[in-house]
Amino acid sequence: MADNPEHNSPPQNDSAGATGAGSEHLNIKVTDNNNEVFFKIKRSTKLEKLMSAFCERQGKTLSSVRFLFEGQRVQPQDTPDTLEMADGDTLEVHQEQVGGSR
């Protein structure tokens, strides 16, 4: 997999990645409150890959988590391009919001 996640890789790779493959590859941090996972993906890669990889790693189902980018829901078919993501941007992983009463 080209976009193999590098687990807990330090962020100093950023500059290298940005300079090396500035237009080609992005480092994206995916984090819920406990874990942070870094992914290096192409700009045109669908984020679905990233999401499912994260879920698989964390042992969650895709339907129970919400990936947000700047408060905006990330759809599986989105790519970093469509979301205008920059290198080092963070995807937040939230739990599904469910509510019924206080």
Binding site: G71, Q97, V98, G100, S101
Partner: protein, 1420 residues
Amino acid sequence: MAPSIKAVVKSSWGFVSSALSSCRSPKASDSAGTEDEAELPRKAPFFKKGSKLTKMTPQPPTPLRRRRADFGFPPLGSERDREWEQQALSANPHHFRRTTGHAHFAPFVAFIQNPPYPDTDDEADTDDQTASTPSDAHAPPAEHTTSPAAIAISVFLEAIPDQFPKPAPTQPSDPLRFQDDYLTSRVFGPLPQICGPLPAPCPYEISYEEARLSSIPYTPVSFDEQRILSSLYTPFGHCRAFPLHAVSRHLIVEELNQDSFLPDAPDLVEDGSDSEISSLHPEPQSQASVPVQVFPAPFFQPAVGFPETDDQDTDLPDAPALEPEESSSPPQTPIRQIAQPFFVQTPAPHHPRFLPPSSEPATPEPVTPEAGPANVLSPVPDSPGDERRAFTYRRNTEGKKFAIDLFKAIRNDHYMRQCRCGLPTIFDSKDSAEAGKGHLRFYVLDGNRFSVTEENLRVLQKKTDLQWHCSCQRPKKLDLVYRKHIYDRDYINPRKRPAEESEVELRAHTAQEEPMWGFVTDRAAAMTATIKTFLGSWCPKFISDHIETIQTRSRAADGTESAQTTDASGDRIVVKRFKRQHALPLGTAPTVDLSNIPGLRWTSDPRRYIGPENIKAIYALYVQELVDIEDGKFRGASSTPHLWMRLDAERHSADHNVIASINVHRTMEDMFGCVAFDNDEVRHEKWDQARDKYVKNLVGLLSFIEEIYDKDVEFTSAKSRFPKPPTDRRLGKVEFAQATGAAARFITWLLHGKSDWVSMPAKMMDTLAKMLADADAIHKHELVPSWVEYPGHNEEAGSDTTGIIAPSILWDEIPIEKFKAEASHEVRFPASMYPPTPARREMPNVVENSPVPVLKKRQAAFPEHVASPHYVATPMKHRKLAFVNPIVKVAHNIREPARVLKPAERKRLGKEGVIKAEDAYQLREYHLKYDNFLKTLEDNINLQKEFRQALVARRRVTKASPKSNIPSDIARPTTEDKEAKLKRDEETRRVYELKKSLSEKLTALKENPVLSPGTKRKAIREPLIDTPEDRRKFLDVSPITPVTTFKPIIKPGARRQAIIDLAKEATRARTIKQEHSPAATPKDRRQLIDILVGDEDDGAEGLAPKKGPSMEISAKKQEDLELTRHLKSEVEDSVAREINAAKKREAEKKARIAAEAKATRLRAELAAAGGLRNPKASLIAPLSQDWVQKVKDLSRANPRAKLAQTLEGTALDRRDFVEMLLPKTAWLNDNIINGSILNVAAAVNEAAASPEAPKCIAFTSFFYNHIKEKGPGSATRTMKRAKISKANFLSIDTILIPICQASHWTLAVVRPRDGIVAHIDSMRGGRGDKEVTDTIMEWVRATLGDLFVSDHWRVHQYKAPRQLNGWDCGVFTITNAVCQALGVKMEGSYDEGQLTLQRSRIAAMLLNGGWKGDFGLGGL
């Protein structure tokens, strides 16, 4: 029981018949025979109160139930009855028989009054009064006081109960005891009545009071019991036999359990009386001997070998059917093995010494010494006291086969009862049997339980051990039935709840009937067997006795014996008829040709053969019967015995006709069968029908008698048609033959009945028989005995005996029992000629069990009649009862509101206001509906009234002066009038056309610029003055409305001036405006002409232009006038126009002011409501069927399929819908919330059609958290996506921000135009959280930057429906978002109860892809 009694009992069975036939009085053979009769009744209380015999005795006088009294049945214990009984007993039985005709009851009565044996058990129970009487105190031993007849009956009566289980003395609390007493009292009570009417109460007619007074245990009798009782109760032909195989095992064992009956064989043999009786009555001997020999009872035999079982048991193909009780030869065949796995089929060695029980003669032979029971049956039980004597005796008598037969009997009994219990245990040895348990203990001698033969199987009885091996009989006991249901209480629905009391009762009720019924059936079956045996031997005797009595009596009355109708035995009716000539089976030749009888001719008098006085007597008899029936002089009853009882009781009264009563009753039973169980009403109805039928038949018979013997019409005509009596021709019309056939059948029916029931003089029967022969002959076209004569017939040739043919050659004598008055074709083509139809199976009286393999496991776990053992109907307890005002059914529902108020309206009006408003609506509707109706009605009525008045007036007028004075309005138009009208119409039409053409021409002329004024003038003048007549007519007929207002103003003098003025004015006006006025109408022109004419004549005459015969005006003047006229109308028009315009302006102004005021008000309201208005329609409307179905189908969708998509592209799958939305209490997830709210915004923007300047913006639920955590400025990208900018922010109507905090959905709203920031929390009724509004306000401020005017912005607390449950906040949030986006008030627009529907609506909307189409928001 005293042994002497037993001796008598043993020997006396044969006595019974002789005792009854000879019937010596008990007292006559007694030493104390001189006792006075008054003592006799007092002997009744001799019995113990509860003993069986007491229950059989007639009870002391008790008040009868009203029902019986209704029938006119006198009280049983009436003075007359007692008197009669005493007479009967005291008198010579022979005398009694001859005088009353009920001699056969005498022995019973005697027996009952004179009990045959005393009750030795309990003397203390006897009545004190009777005990104190000397005769009772010194009552001699029973065997000395009773007659043989009484003893015989006592034997019979005692023998029956002895077949039944007696309550064991060691078991005072035996649950069966109650039943035994019960059964005995119920079943044995009426037993004597089997043989005929006895003045004792029917058991099922004893009321509670009677029972209480008479110490009969009172139990309400169920229908089935009644049926049984009736079957026992109905004498003779109606007695139904129950199959013997229904005998219970209980009976077997109880029989064996009897200690009291140990037969003594030598006694039997040596009993002299027995031999004497048997020689006297050899025929009933064999049957009578059965009850005498108690121990080899008939009950055991059917239990041992069932023919059905043997036939249908497929498990034993090689086992020959053995019926040991039938075969008198020694059993050569191997004994049939019991088909159970552990039995090996080994042919048992033949043992010639032991015979099957039933092959034994009536008096059992003593066992031969070399095969003595003691030798055969080893080991002999150690403790003889352990076994009942009957058991021991029988085992000893029957030998080795006894054990295996008993085992088989038990097995068969199990099979018959469909019992699921196991068979008795077979022990390995006698020791283990002794140590074991059970009442009957089977064991094998050689320890080989697996090959049981009659050689090695033995049985022990332990009479102290009352435990039977199986329990299947136990639920039959009443208390156990109840206990079973107590058990069932836990059994019903064990998981959910204990059964209700009513349910237990229900089960108890349904279950209780069956075992009870089964129990009764068993007993009754056994009973019937005994009774059948009894009847088999005794009833014929009784019957013949009875008939003999009748015969004797009738002969005594007649003085002579009729040799013609009675045969040698003297009690038969014989129909004597000519030998058949052609009414014979096909192919059979007549034996004699009657047409060749010498001297055969018509008789001179058809009455001679029978005798005029006989005919008259019969005729009178039936006429009397007819009259009596017409007068109601007959008696009805529920059953034949009942009828007998009634007739018997009223035999002295003359107000009823016995024969009529009996015959109608017979007819009824022929028609309807047994009517004993119908209620009175039904029975009366049936009775009426039967009576009608009987009367019809009777009338037919009487008319037949008249026709044949009185009127002679048919006879004369036949005589005239045939010179000699024909033997094969029809003598009258077909109808006549048919009528005679009916009469023949009726007479046959009568005579059949006579032999059974009705005593009648023999001569009358003879007459009837002769009439029957006549009727039958006419019916079958045979020679009619009454109508012919020949030497020797009709005693004509009395003197000359030479040519007489022997009657036996010419005549047939057919006993009435065999006589059938069937139709000729049935004689000619009898049923035997045709292949027999498959015989219909006789319906057994007891439900037949389907053949089931004996030892196979049964499939059905429950009895079939229990439809569903687990099902218990839901009790009615929890069902709500709705009160329906009965007035509603007749009156209009005045409380029904005409319009359902919206929630907001309801809220505004309050409870009282709602009711008032609804009432108002209702009333309005009501009046609308009913006032119109009433008005129409009133109009109609008035119209009718007027019409009627007019009609009356006209009539009056016509009547008063038919030719004159007719009111013109009602008078018919005459022909003259009609013609005139036609003429007038025609003229009108012509004038109208003329005017039209004129106006057209005029207009054309006037507007033609080419023509010179002169030509114009000429042209105008010409048509106008076409002919003077035309013109006159034209002027004359003026159908047009009155002319304009100023006409009256113009006085003749001022006319000219006015016209001139007008013209001037008009000219002035014309210069101002161009002429646009329309062409002058004919109307105008007419006025014009009016004026014109008036001008011409210049004077008062001008107003009457008609008068002028000819008028001419100058063309110039006409033109001027026309112009003037035009001008005038224009002036008028303009004035009117101005006035109208002024009015319009006024109205517009008013409307504008009102609209402004309204707008102001609305604006004020809107401002107060936070910029929200009321909805125009219901916010949450029901779904259409299509959508409902689609929503339903969601649950079956593919779980991975993408069912819908939100606007941000999130796929919604089945889980989102089915788990997170549709269940009533599901908590909504962000997918649903965001999908819905984004769609709301989209829908509003689409409606606004301004994609670049959105009216409504919706953020997702993650937006708020984002700006809260990251700060208000962190959402630029999101806002850019949502097309919000600083520039357009203030032009946005609504911004919707769903918030999920702590598992609670709320909605934040920004309304930039109104400057409102709000947070709507459904749990707080719409009020918001300050933290949220602060955050949002921060975001607004950050977004607007320098455009933020703090005065413009405020936090508004909206009111919204309050959430009371714990799950609907998401739905509230969505619905509030809809309201906000539309600018609609939330509170009052919906309520919490609608939100379950709203869930479906949301689901459907999401499927639909937004709030569009069916879910469009435009209508709100």
